[in-house]
Amino acid sequence: MFGYYLDLALRSLRRNKALTALMVLAIALGIGACMTTLTVLHVLSGDPLPGKSAQLYYPQLDPRDMDGYQPGEDPPVQVTWTDGMNLLRAGRADRQALMTGGAVPLQPAQSSIEPFFENARYTSADFFPMFEVPILYGRPWTAADDEAHARVALISRKLNDKLFQGRDSTGETLRMNDVAFRIVGVLDSWRMTPHFYDLNNGSYAEDEGVYLPLTTAYELKLGRNGSTDCWGKGSDPDHMDTAPCVWLQYWVQLDTPAKAAAYKQFLIHYSQEQKALGRFQRPPNVRLPDVMGWLDYNKVVPGDVRLQAWLALGFLLVCLVNTVGLMLAKFLRRSAELGVRRALGASRREVFMQLLVESGVIGLTGGIAGLLLSLVGLWLVRKQPSDYAALAHLDLPMLLATFLLAVGASLLAGLLPAWRACQVTPALQLKSN
């Protein structure tokens, strides 16, 4: 029966080509716009470390003085050097890393490459296993290197390709800011989207090219990129280790919820202890969001992207209403034909099915056209200058979602017209002819 319905549908659609084209086009545009914006939204709000992100937490403390204190206020979004180092050395989590972003002048040994600045991450040894950073050559530095302020560095695969043509460069020397560093390892391709562990330099920034021990970078006063918030006597560029400023990110790995609860208790005890010592003045104000919680809190997905997604949904709605109206008119106009079918013995259900097949054909065609349009749309998005542009690609789940959306939407659009049309009274239709 399905084949027969399909044949009927195609005949009917061919009878009025302009109208069919209009319905297909409307659905295609609606679906195309929706899928483009939803794909961008999906990519940008994705989990950067699936399977691991629920075990990674971002402790927040409130070390500020009472100036401007308001109960219930959010704690600062970074930590001070003192607190970061205290928590790092306490080692109460399964893994922990203290970090900040920076930029270092790189002076390649080859004269063919001009000196250039490379984005860097100054961090501690646990960074690499904690964030499951893939290592191509060599190994990460150790906690002992951190303590010794060792002149060691890891570099990204991209930088390794640029400087060493992709060969194993471990053991080589790299001059940065007039200091010789020994390369101990090379990362494999790695990009976190969003750049969750440090959102200060763009939520979708590329990962860094150079990784150095934080202690070394601080000793050498290497240039920092990021934000600094101070209170009291304010910033002191020469003594950032004691300045009342938050400027570092601190991440911990806690394998079970019980450990997370215990760690939160530890942070409260730590705050109380620091208050007793006179360093903290405010009552303990502790947060411990995990990766997704931290991303939500920072509203990393750009407003424009969310706005575009809502707009596209509205657009699809108008397109669907349009299609429903046209289909309704079309089906009702065929009342006479449907009346004959009913009179010849087709049940209401069968007529309904026949009409649904017709709307399904429109939906499917519109969906396929919409998919092509969304590929064009994503290509246009990739042409944009934003730092997330390169990420806009259609993945398999979104591809399936497109089809479900297209067929579902058009079937939904077909329901009302088909139902109305199959209500025809056969006798009345036959009589009027």
């Binding site: 209009l22 002076q107 000196p115 424009d304 109206g325 046209l326 200058p385 934003s386 002819n433």
Partner: protein, 410 residues
Amino acid sequence: MLQIKPILAALKRHKAGTVLIALQIALTLAIVCNALFIIQQRTEHLSRPTGMTETNLLTVANRWVGADDKATPSLGKTDLEALRRMPGVVDATLTNSYPLRGGGWSTSVNTTPEAKKEMAHTTLYFTDDHALAAMGAKLVAGRNFRPSEIEWVDAKEFQTTPVVIVTKALADKLYPDGSALGKVLYHSGHTKPSTIIGIVERLQVPWTGTWASNFAENTILIPRLLTGNFGSYLVRTQPGQLERLTKAVPKLLIQTNRMRVIPEERGVRTFAQVREQAYKSDRGMAILMGVVCAVLLAITAAGIVGLTSFWVGQRRKQIGVRRALGATKHDILSYFLTENLLIGAGGVIVGAALAIGMNLWLVSHFEMERLSLLYVAAGVIALLLLGQGAVLAPAMKASRVPPVEATRSV
């Protein structure tokens, strides 16, 4: 207008179709109003002049590598001399930032040292006596800096300078009676005054975002060059020399001294490129909104055409009867136009409410301002006209139905 009653009676027999068209008009109105408003917000400042002469202007971002901060003044001086000597170069200056660059120094400014609340927000450009010529900014009162007033200073130690040049916008804000020249200002909460020795017609701040919109032209030029490893050279070229110098300037700088990095991306840009990049995302959003509006209106119009055509086809016999009973072509035409106007009116009433509701929701969730009712009014008129235009063709067709149609059975 006498036809309203029969029209309403007829529409009752097409409830679903009527409601659908009205709903489509309502949704389209709501989206188009808000989209147009977003376009207006985004494009408002696209055409804002920077106050500089933007043709024949080259920007070069420079970063010293391995140079001590104390050494950078002499390096900078050498650079500037070399640049100014270059054939094809009119003038060159060094500055911490420039209009549309994106990053810079912003601070508060007052006319008294005691004031707790800032009178205005402003940006500071640290530059020299060649800045006005290199930027192509127009001095409307007072004088330029003298070479003897220029010094080098560490950004961390900078406090105030005895003399400054300000923009007219800032001068008028501080001294609304127009007497700013020769008066003093206090910035960044410092207690030492700076005398306004010159006023430039206009000079925009480095930022284009909404947060900077209330001080977009409040600028102070400080006769100090910053030591340290960052800075941007602004090079004004003779007409027709820009393209050549875009390549020659970085080459000359590298020749002068290799201890520097000129970033590959955005290191050397003509000002046309600076402007394009500064406004690219705003322009992109505005274009997108424009396309969405156009497509929505087209789809709605097509929908109205389609549905009305069906109704006309369905009612050929009735139309024939009316024509046979004495209705003129004009009567039939106005019947369909009025019918569409009634549906459209219902649609736009709901749509106006939807548009305002949608705007309130956008205001609470995104950085949006309240929709001006002017936009709703314009949208209402536009959609009603669109409806009338769309219905015209099917209505004309209906009016051409001959009276003899009444006698046909099918």
